[in-house]
């Protein structure tokens, strides 16, 4: 097994997802297949190879420090599922 149900559950929590029991079963097995396929990569010698994290090598894309108009409060909240006054509302954060 590349990945156990416990690990899938942990990763799901990190990603803020939940699964029903039977979904969990299916997912774990599918993920195992996929991760097994990834093992291919272990046969490639990558000693000294710089990881490629961008499609192109670019430097210094900047903008100047100039203020431009923001959205109005109503526009910022226009898509909010639970706006309250001038705010986005969420269930209480328990600290």
């Amino acid at each position: 097994m590349k990945i156990t149900r416990t690990e899938v559950a942990h990763v799901a929590h990190l990603a803020r997802l939940t699964f029903r029991e039977e979904e969990m079963e299916k997912f774990t097995s599918q993920l195992n297949d996929i991760l097994l396929y990834m093992d291919k990569l272990n046969s490639v010698d990558t000693t000294g190879v710089e990881p490629m994290t961008h499609a192109t090598v670019l430097y210094n894309a900047f903008r100047e420090d100039v203020v431009k108009p923001s959205l109005a409060n109503e526009q910022s909240l226009a898509n909010a599922p639970d706006p309250r006054g001038e705010f986005f509302r969420v269930p209480k954060v328990i600290e």
Partner: protein, 475 residues
Amino acid sequence: MEFEPVIGLEVHAQLRTDSKIFCSCSTQFGAGPNTHTCPVCLGMPGVLPVLNRKVVEYTIKMALATHCRINRENSFARKNYFYPDLPKGYQISQYAYPLAEEGGIEVEVEGGKRRIGITRIHMEEDAGKLIHDEHFPSSYVDLNRTGVPLIEIVSEPDIRSAEEAADYLRRIHEILVYLEICDGNMEEGSFRCDANVSLRPRGQEEFGTRAELKNMNSFRNVQRALEYEIKRQQYVLEAGGEVVQETRLWDDAQGVTIPMRSKEEAHDYRYFPDPDLVTIAVSDAWIEEIRGTMPELPLEKRERFLRDYQIPPYDAGVLTTSRALADYYEEVVRLCGQPKVASNWVMGDILRFLKEDKRDIRDCPISAAALAEMIRLIEDGAISGKMAKEVSEEMYRTGKPPQTVIAEKGLVQITDEGALAAVIEQIMAANPTQLAQYRGGKDKLFGFFVGQVMKATQGKANPQLINDLLKKMLA
């Protein structure tokens, strides 16, 4: 057993740019909730960040001021976690490749100076603000602060006392403000500090288990929180207990640190290079250009003041706490030519006035030129030091120049020998007994005559002149 504290500090400083780090929204504090927000800082789908050049320049300034190595290529990563004040579900920060590393600054400790190492300085975006409802199980999200540029300055665990920590913070704060890259306002959260603290038996090499302290919003609180925490850990260890690795909040009202309530979830931030942002390449030419715009830093200024003005180290320290104050002082000295007298006036009356009114030196109603003029008037004997106190108060209150105040109050010192001699003659005539006694050898009565002259002239006579004339005429 004797324990030694080991402290490292993480400072988050908001940079004083006009616009946010990755979008063009204003960074201004105090706007209506969710009005400095746009698709980029709201984390809407499909929009992209573009880095504010000034953020890089300001960070390079701080790196130069703290003697850090500037990484010629540095880049951003994503720090992934869910929180309602983090609209993208990740914070753009620097991780593996920060802009600056391996610097340090000097702090004052009993018996001299110590160097506190700086591990790294990196750029990142600030998060928004949550307001908790007191009556309902709801929180409200304001994303104005989201994307305001921050630098995080991480110290080495080189600090050995709460006092040293406070001094380190003051020095860092002072440099940021001197560079004019941070307004340093702790109440508004432009300058924030977290501390890591642990104890180890003196002489031991490895560190003990540390606690992370948060929620300290003033230098004093940092010092108090650390003092408390050091004591707390000491008691725990002395009682044979173990310090728990945890985050603790400073409770200002109670004067104690308390563990955060939430169950300590093992964080896994899954940092990886941000594919939406490109590498920042810092050339030597760019660094030199920025170095050319750097002001003299507090430490350099302090040393120059000692050297050039021959004032005590304490004075030099006070006068260089802010760039504006130092500039004010230097202007006064330039115009009146008396560094020590100028220092006394600035550190004394001027700072007292300002403190009472909670005013900044930049808003001081007495201009450097006016103060210098007043000092010259004292020097010339036009007014006495005592009069000057009254004059300066009036100058501060009204903003009028010294000559005007003196004229309006009729404070001109009597320096006319003839006029004063006439007054003395009158007094001698009116007090024949005392005169005879004095002349008979009762020297103590000299003071009586000085007093009489002062009284008659309402204190406006030049004391030196009174002395000279009395000695001559009483003889």
